[in-house]
């Protein structure tokens, strides 16, 4: 949807970056897309010939990355790198490119833009580099800007400025923004809709307020409980999610979250739940859902978030070997890969 702001949330290592990269066909060898579809204006980007996909890169869908220093070429001037994005496509008339390059830098609030365009990336501060990346991303007036953890490498005040800039640019230019992050707080500040990913799959999606208000997937619920809150009761401990995300190459059978889920039932180990509507425009992939967890397992008062704690369901025999939780691995085999 034009002008939309979408957040893609999940723990580190759950496949957010890979998902984003596969949209533009940028997954590094030996990685490849084995199946699925990515639809853009009715066309499947996965099956699109690389020549056509290249035209879309940077022109219709642009992308900025986590570490702005390593993402900019150290031996080329910043201004040139921005102009280059426009030269690669013919959306911006050739004679306007250079002026637009400087204008863009002004737009993303790089001070003294005309002079700074002639600087090299190492002469920029971290925040300015990310602004330059954003300028580059927006240079062809793309329909979608994918921002993969654009603030993770920056310090807190700069983070806030960059997010504010993204919000303003989204309103001013109508470019949709897909924000990838593991920080739900960032999503709350910028996005209208949110997708929660776990182990490479969508487990819940819907409007931000609704998801924050009543998350239906236990994973989303745990993520929300792990955000520090100023207004939280002091006695209520901050809860991190027990265990580690599964190895994406060797996924457990049934629900991918079952090894770590406090509310799991027997069925969760057998059948993989699909996304279902759980409220208007909100979907979740869970056999139990939090509604039921609150009603039947007393989720409102629960403090123990260990796997199976609320329902008391132990993993079936045979599965147990694969479904060890992180602490056991730590103790037995040293640090997890």
């Amino acid at each position: 949807m034009p002008g939309e702001t979408l957040g893609l949330v999940g723990e580190s290592g759950c496949g957010k970056s890979v998902t984003a990269l596969s949209i533009l066909g940028l997954v590094q060898r030996p990685g490849r897309i084995v199946g699925g579809k990515i639809l853009f204006k009715g066309e499947d980007l996965v099956r699109m010939p690389v020549d056509e996909l290249r035209d879309i890169r940077g022109r219709d869908i642009a992308m900025i990355f986590q570490d702005p220093l390593s993402s900019l070429n150290p031996v080329l001037k910043v201004g040139f790198q921005i102009d280059e994005a426009m030269q690669a496509h013919d959306k911006i008339p050739k004679d306007q490119i250079e002026r637009r390059g400087v204008d863009l830098l002004k737009e993303v609030r790089v001070p003294d833009a005309a002079r700074r365009a002639n600087d090299y990336p190492h002469q920029f501060s971290g925040g300015m580099r990310q602004r330059a990346m954003i300028a580059m991303g927006l240079s062809n007036r793309p329909e979608i800007l994918i921002a993969d953890e654009p603030t993770t490498a920056l310090d807190v005040t700069v983070q806030a400025q960059i997010l504010e800039l993204l919000r303003d640019l989204n309103e001013a230019t109508g470019t949709s923004i897909m924000l990838i992050t593991h920080n739900l707080g960032v999503v709350a500040g910028l996005c209208k809709r949110v997708i929660v990913m776990y182990a490479g799959e969508i487990v819940e999606q819907g409007p931000v307020e609704q998801i924050f208000e009543s998350p239906q997937h236990p994973y989303t619920w745990s993520l929300l409980r792990s955000i520090p809150r100023i207004d939280a009761d002091r006695r209520e401990r901050l809860r991190s999610i027990e265990g580690l995300p599964p190895d994406l190459i060797q996924l457990p059978p049934g629900c991918k979250f079952s090894p770590r889920c406090p509310y799991r039932i027997e069925r969760c180990f057998r059948d993989d739940p699909q996304l279902k509507e759980v409220a208007p425009s909100q979907e979740a992939a869970c056999w139990v859902t939090m509604k039921r967890a609150y009603a039947e397992m007393g989720a409102a008062t629960i403090t123990d978030t260990r796997p199976g704690a609320a329902s008391g369901v132990r993993p079936p025999k045979g599965v147990a070997a694969k479904v060890v939780d992180a602490r056991t691995i730590d103790a037995a085999e040293g640090p997890v890969r």
Binding site: D55, R57, L72
Partner: protein, 317 residues
């Protein structure tokens, strides 16, 4: 900019110092070698003393060195030949320098051209037959000594294909002033540049493979740039930084190699003169040529350091 000029100044001072030390060392050694320039004339006793005195060879070596040095500084003269008695060697050496420079320059161009091209091709086609072929050529390049390749070159182009090449690598002696056409230079230049090109292939390939993994290459792709631009403008520009670092040693290899190659092909350059002068006890020529080599190496290394600043803007002096 100012910093760079100061840096260049400092380096030049250092070069002068190095050249002084090196030339004195060589001067000392060649004068200690047994025998003298007049052995073949079978002069003895009184007559020999007169000759030695005439050329100042009876003085202590530091004094001789001082005279030699002032000759260069005051008159720009490397002295006279002791073999062809009294012939000023400066014009001779300069002419030979131009021949050697042409050979060395051609070898350097071949080295860098071949090395970088092969390295890039091998990297972008990693693990394909192209990669294996080019890497094999590179390994052959730096494991087969240049004189072997030179001998093969003579055998193929001088003997077997003599009619075809019209004796292209035959260099008439004595020098008639017709050396240095491109065709004449090509075989010895390839023989000379092949060894170092193998090293450059290897380093370029490794650097390209490393650079291609970098985030900024992903950025370049994400912009929608075509592969050619990604590889040449974004990857190669960065890969040239480590390649530049071996240019200094490469130049030294080429200079050293040229001595061998010139003698094999009979090219009347500095290298050939150098070897002959040693056998002829022509002290001034030996020292003069060696000093020129020292200057060349110093200047080449300075040049490489300056190329660095062009290739990598993060480096400033």
């Amino acid at each position: 900019m100012r910093g760079t000029l100061i840096y260049i100044g400092q380096r030049l001072v250092l070069i002068v110092f190095t050249v002084l030390v090196v030339s004195f060392g060589v001067f000392f050694i060649v004068h200690l070698l047994p025998g003298n320039a007049f052995v073949s004339d079978r002069v003895h006793g009184q007559a020999l003393q007169i000759l030695l005195h005439e050329y100042g060879l009876d003085q202590p070596i530091p004094v001789q060195y001082w005279n030699w040095l002032t000759g260069i500084v005051l008159h720009g003269s490397l002295g006279v030949s002791l073999y062809i008695r009294g012939l000023p060697i400066t014009p001779l050496v300069l002419r030979e320098l131009s021949v050697s420079a042409m050979l060395g320059g051609a070898a350097l161009i071949i080295t860098i051209g071949l090395g970088v091209t092969f390295g890039v091709l091998a990297a972008v086609r990693q693990n394909s037959w192209v990669d294996y072929l080019l890497t094999t050529i590179a390994v052959i390049g730096y494991s087969v000594p240049s004189f072997v390749i030179a001998s093969l070159g003579i055998l193929i182009f001088g003997q077997w294909l003599n009619n075809l090449t019209n004796g292209v690598i035959y260099y008439p002696e004595p020098w008639t002033g017709t050396y240095g056409t491109l065709a004449e230079l090509s075989v010895p230049a390839i023989a000379l540049g092949f060894y170092t090109s193998g090293q450059i292939t290897r380093i370029t390939r490794a650097a390209m493979l490393d650079v291609i993994q970098q985030d900024y290459i992903r950025t370049a792709r994400a912009k929608g740039l075509v592969d050619r631009v990604v590889v040449l403008r974004h990857a190669l520009r960065n890969a040239l930084v480590p390649v530049t670092s071996i240019l200094g040693p490469t130049v030294i290899s080429i200079i050293v190699g040229s001595v061998v190659i010139e003698n094999i092909f009979g090219i009347p350059g500095l290298g050939k003169e150098f070897v002959e002068s040693i056998f002829q006890h022509d002290y001034n020529v030996t020292v003069g040529v060696f000093t020129i080599y020292a200057v060349l190496i110093g200047v080449a290394n300075l040049g490489v350091d300056l190329i660095y600043t062009v290739i990598d803007p993060r480096i400033r002096y």
